[in-house]
Amino acid sequence: MSNNNIPENALFVCFGGMSNVGTLTGLASLEAVRQVEPGRAGIFCLGGLPTEAPIVLNKTRAAQRIITVDGCPLNCARKIVEQAGFVPYKTINLVEDCGIKKGPPQAYYGDEEMQVAVKAIVDAIGNNQFSPAPGSAD
């Protein structure tokens, strides 16, 4: 956990429900956060960016890195983050990057798709150990 109890990596996750991959972004991100060390990552409020919720904007600015997790090729989470003026450190798309097939919500997905999605998110979180800026008090 970084300063002010803000997770080092801010995950902005689609969690849309119109397709299986949108839903999978939310569930896989919860599992990924559970698997990494406490404080390494937290799932933020994507809806708080376009609505300029102060608490969301402030915590996002305080995070060290931003990772977006989208399900389908529309890449809505990434677009919202960028439209809010932030630059993702990594972007993950479950269809394009993980090869998971998009289907209707009730198509769900299997254990294999879940494991692939979780691994992609854990890898994105895990490979960016934070280095304090020169002159930082930390």
Binding site: N5, P7, V13, C14, F15, G16, G17, M18, S19, G22, T23, G26, S29, L30, G42, I43, F44, C45, L46, G47, G48, L49, P50, T51, A53, I55, V56, K59, C72, P73, L74, N75, C76, A77, R78, K79, I80, Q83, P88, K90, T91, I92, N93, E96, D97, K102, G103, P104, P105, Q106, A107, A124
Partner: protein, 146 residues
């Protein structure tokens, strides 16, 4: 995974997108900085499980915020839209209002159901009782006469 991608529309629409639309759309927060945000998604999916995909469908709030035309068309084709927020920030309601879309019913778990917001970054810190109350409220909103 950082290469540029820009698609106004899904470049590879799937067959299911032409399938029969549900009667009611649930547009939920799904934010995970607090328990009530996550609860909106969990409760909405429980309602889908109980009523089935012909009666209710899940919406993509992020697609509205990102301005994806296809999702506006889908939303306007529904008989009834239920908007669900978890906390007083009311982000989904604001997104719906900002984008000029529609809602026939609105639920805010904090304001309307007095479910306690627990956070930050404690998405699963809601109780079974909270979940049951949330599901009941959504069921009522879905089944109310327009």
């Amino acid at each position: 995974m950082t290469e540029e991608r820009s698609h106004e529309e899904d470049p590879a629409p799937q067959e299911h997108e032409d399938a029969e639309k549900p009667r009611v759309g649930l547009f939920y927060c799904g934010g995970a900085m607090s328990s009530v945000g996550e609860l909106t998604g969990v409760a909405a999916f429980e309602v889908l499980k109980r009523l089935g995909p012909k009666e209710v469908g899940m919406g993509c709030v992020s697609a509205l915020a990102a301005g994806i035309p296809k999702h506006f068309r889908t939303m306007h084709g529904l008989e009834r839209v239920v908007v669900i927020d978890g906390c007083p920030n009311s982000c989904v309601r604001k997104i719906v209002e900002q984008t000029g879309t529609r809602m026939e019913a609105y639920i805010n778990f904090g304001k309307d159901l007095k479910i306690k917001k627990v956070g930050p970054f404690k998405p699963l810190a809601y109780s079974q009782e909270d979940l049951e109350r949330a599901v009941e409220a959504i069921l009522n909103a879905v089944q109310s006469t327009p």
